[in-house]
């Protein structure tokens, strides 16, 4: 079965709905119409651009360019992870921790899927590698950012408890263990919710997309299950990496708690 292709005109009809939102904002005095127009415009431009980039990269079939695109996406994801927590590690620590963790999680899970389950020829074919890396990055990004926020917030809140343990001769890992546990746990809960709700409360986006594109439902379901497992593994790797890397930045070789390496900022 072939996908039903859309013309720009078809898409323009749907844009009427955004215009309706804008009218609603003006009529009810919500003050959202400018933001709405800007966001909608931005969305269209970004997606069209990425469409051109992807077409170009797919045609190029160069492993180096594919890697470059994936790394650029990972850098953006790292920035998102870094931007969420109220507490930030000095010297771009949040960014380093966030980017390292999402890259690690994505590299491991995407490579596993590409070399064992999906197996395109070659395995790094941009047509598979880029979308797969993209969806994994997008998901582990939010888990990583939850873990980071939870750890950095917790370390400030629990300063007294952590230092009490250190002062009594505990190692830094012993003193941090409860907090590490709590932040990894916090990062993994959304995953459990998403998996539990899949197919009953929500029809996952990838599956919906593939069914709309003409794939048989059972085939789409298999892809979705594979993807859920990848996201599950990726979230776990990202959460534990974030927690361990951030904790390491909060101590020194004399096992002190170095809160001087944290700065607080207003909510972004």
């Amino acid at each position: 079965m072939n996908p039903i292709l859309l013309t720009p005109g078809d898409v323009a009809i749907a844009a009427v709905l955004i215009a309706f939102d804008g009218a609603l904002s003006i009529y009810l005095g919500l003050g959202l119409h400018r933001q709405l127009a800007w966001a909608a415009g931005r969305m269209v431009v970004q997606l069209v651009l990425i469409g051109y980039v992807l077409s170009y990269v797919f045609a190029l079939a160069s492993p180096a360019v594919t890697l470059l695109v994936v790394l650029a996406m990972a850098a953006m994801a790292g920035r998102e992870v870094a931007a969420r927590p109220e507490q930030t590690l000095v010297r771009f620590g949040n960014y380093a921790v966030g980017a390292t963790s999402v890259v690690l999680a994505t590299a491991i899970t995407a490579t596993l899927a590409l070399t064992t389950a999906i197996r395109p020829q070659p395995w790094y074919d941009a047509r598979y590698a880029i979308p797969l890396a993209g969806i994994i990055l997008g998901n582990v990004m939010s888990n990583a950012s939850l873990a980071l926020d939870s750890l950095l917030g917790g370390v400030v809140r629990e300063k007294g408890a952590i230092e009490a343990q250190l002062a009594l001769g505990a190692t830094f890992s012993e003193a941090m263990l409860p907090l590490l546990r709590a932040s990894v746990r916090r990062a993994l809960l959304p995953l459990i919710n998403t998996m539990s709700a899949a197919g009953i409360i929500t029809l996952p986006g990838i599956m919906t997309g593939q069914i709309l594109a003409g794939m048989a439902p059972m085939e789409a379901v298999k892809y979705q299950i594979l993807l859920m497992f990848l996201l599950g593994g990726g979230s776990g790797i990202a959460a534990i990496a974030v927690a361990l890397l951030a904790a390491r930045k909060l101590t020194d070789r004399r096992a002190r708690l170095r809160l001087d390496r944290l700065t607080h900022r207003g909510k972004t």
Binding site: E158, K159, G160, A161, I162, E163, A164, Q165, L166, A167, L168, G169, A170, T171, A175, P178, D252, R253, R254, A255, R256, L257, R258
Partner: protein
């Protein structure tokens, strides 16, 4: 070369951080040093520096052995800092006394006017004074060589304070070295032969 005299239990020289110091101080075994001074003068910073909880420079040695030759946790177990507001890392009291320490803590509790039962239960059901006494027990059952006490009786009534001081004097007689930060001149006089005043990050004899 032979030296008949034992090295001081705790020897500090040129100990300083960005905020306080430099400090030079020797504390012999079985002796107590008291430090008083206005809030914010650096008393707690000094104790934290000795315990190596904040970045600092200079030399510290325990019984003649340099601090760098100990792992940081090993040093802190021996040169133990007890904060003015003790932190608790579990909602229950018992997990703060692992292994045989729990029995030792229950045995010590009556000495400070606590019941052995108060060593169990929830931390937030205890009063500030009860928590402060438990923090002192928590430090003592770890058998440190040097005890760094930051306002250990600040939240205690006169009777509980007297009990705490009696217990500390008993440990002093057994060889423990103590540096005590206190706002009470009477307590300093009762506990310590050597008394100092902290002023703007500098230590001078009282």
């Amino acid at each position: 070369m032979t030296d008949a005299a034992a090295p001081p239990r705790l020897a500090l020289s040129g100990l300083r951080s960005r905020l306080a110091g430099p400090f030079d101080l020797d504390v012999m075994a079985a002796s107590c040093v008291a430090i008083s001074g206005p809030s914010g003068s650096g008393k707690s910073l000094f104790l934290r520096m000795i315990a190596d909880l904040d970045p600092n420079e200079g030399r510290a040695a325990l019984d003649g052995r340099a601090r760098e030759s100990f792992s940081a946790p090993a040093w802190r177990r021996l040169v133990l800092y007890s904060a003015a507001e003790p932190g608790w890392w579990n909602e229950n009291v018992e997990p703060h006394f692992p292994g045989p320490m729990l029995g030792a803590a229950r045995a010590l509790a009556p000495t400070l006017g606590l019941t052995a039962g108060q060593v169990g239960g929830a931390v937030n059901r205890l009063s500030t004074g009860e928590r402060q006494r438990l923090a002192l027990i928590r430090a003592l059952v770890r058998k440190p060589s040097v005890l760094l006490l930051d306002e250990p009786t600040g939240a205690l009534d006169p009777e509980a304070t007297a009990r705490a001081e009696a217990l500390l004097r008993e440990r002093l007689a057994a060889g423990l070295a103590i540096i005590i930060v206190t706002h009470s001149a009477e307590q300093a006089e009762r506990m310590a032969a050597r008394r100092f005043v902290m002023q703007a990050g500098r230590l001078s004899p009282a």
